[in-house]
Amino acid sequence: MAQNYFQKEIETMSAEEMKKLQSEKLVKQVKHVYENVAYYRNLMDEKGVKPEDIKGIDDLSKLPFLTKADLRDAYPYGLLAKPLEDCVRIQSTSGTTGRRVVAFYTKNDVDLWEDCCARAIVAAGGSKQDVCQVAYGYGLFTGGPGLNGGSHKVGCLTLPMSSGNTERQIQFMTDLNATILCCTPSYAAYIGETLKEHGYKPEDIPLKAGIFGAEPWTEEMRKGIEEVLGIKAYDIYGLTETTGPGVAFECSEQTGMHINEDHFYAEIIDPDTGEVLPEGSKGELVFTSLDKEAFPLLRYRTRDICVLSRKKCSCGRTLVKMAKPMGRTDDMLIIRGVNVFPSQIETVLLNEGYQPNYQIIVDRVKNNDTFDVNVEMNSEQFTDKVSEILAMEKSLANAMKTMLGINPAVHLVPPKTITRSEGKAVRVVDKRKLI
């Protein structure tokens, strides 16, 4: 199969050239951050590192890490490296204890993000001949805007569907002959099942490829989606803190995702010691934005457990590959593509006058995530009327929806019914077999 690239020179650059490029960018970036971000300057000063100490990519490990806690402390402008007048966009995700992550973009930042998504679309076989249906959510969530921009750059006819309204998705897909579908893997599976129910056979569906991300999915799920839709399904990775989808993308080999390392330098570290681990080691994935202007995070700890590989890829790309994330170093869950921290549930419960005795139960039924929260009720809350208890459940679910962006099913349960393991309540039961 002939390989196409969106930015061939970068995507197939030799290792030495790439390192040189990354080194040049890093030196400039560290200077930019040190001069413009007091928060990070303080971290560097505390560590006794000056911008002059960073002469190339090999010096990266001298720099301090950033974590989600830093984003929370610096919210909203503390990590901004450009005047607001130079920023043209924000994107956002829910954060721990109610503080959102707000990422800022200059025109150039949006541009490089869209380039990354365009590389992903071309790697999935996309070209200006294609009709690209973007069924990720549009808005603060990065999925829709990112792939939408990438699709424009490739020159695809873009269908900005956003998520939901499956009947309409199917109508546009079949009437306008969409050839590429971009959405979460669970939504792709759902669209596939719905098409099947409507009597469509894989060969009747115009799609040829799908770019699916924002939540964990398995090889079995990939096979299922590929079969029901009659397509090749490609994984895509990203996080709002770094830019959004397109930080890494899959190629025709489907054996891991190429990281756009000219923009985002990846390291694997030991999550306990912070020590950088050699290629092939399993550890925590850390990203450094080499080009971002407005929100350039250096050594941002993603909490994703991952492995990097520089093995030669049959697609011709030389960009380093990351495996599917194998877990988290924190307790974050990804449910229906949305990041959920148990601490957020706890915050809602305390705000609403409940004790933080709860259990989150996540499962995947027919390729869709189910999200249940059991909450122990106390004697002050207990009433003998069913309607009042149902109303309490509804109001808790609404408060959680406001905090998280997704709707849980809340169940009030009697005290001491939540599973305890060695006396400690089990907060999360994840029944999905994703890894």
Binding site: N378, F382, H411, L412, V413, P414, P415
Partner: protein, 143 residues
């Protein structure tokens, strides 16, 4: 005047009702009336027992989430139309009944109705005025 109803919050799971009634029977508590409201997830057990104070203590000790509330107990004749006329009395007075359940007396030709009403004192007044006999906890323990 009102009688006490013991209310227990349980999960809608196999065996939960039995575990409550077993706890009570082991401690010699006798049930006079029992009603369950259930949803897919949970159930609310509503009971009138011969000794509410002890039952409350025992269930609390056993970790149950309980609440004791006042309900209206009315004695009615065991013949067609008696419940309707009691309910009509409340209806005319603009009093809303949240829920109700009934039980039969063992010896007399009577039935008893337990009514959950927000304005229970007002309800008792109008029922008494209309000639209905209200029952008390003392009556219940003698049943």
């Amino acid at each position: 005047m009102a009688i006490k109803q013991l209310t227990v919050f349980i999960q809608n799971k196999k065996g939960t009702v039995a575990s409550v009634t077993e706890t009570l029977s082991k401690n010699n508590i006798n049930l006079r009336a029992l009603s369950i409201a259930e949803t897919q997830d949970f159930g609310i057990l509503r009971m009138v027992v011969n000794d509410t104070v002890s039952a409350e203590k025992i269930l609390t000790e056993n970790g149950y989430l309980i609440k004791t509330i006042d309900v209206v107990g009315v004695k009615i004749g065991d013949e067609p139309g008696q419940l309707t006329s009691a309910l009509n009395v409340l209806d005319y007075a603009g009093i809303n009944v949240e829920y109700l359940y009934a039980f039969m007396a063992r010896t007399e030709k009577h039935a008893y109705v337990v009514l959950r009403i927000e304005e229970s004192e007002e309800a008792e007044c109008v029922l008494a005025k209309a000639g209905f006999k209200l029952i008390t906890d003392a009556d219940i323990s003698k049943l």
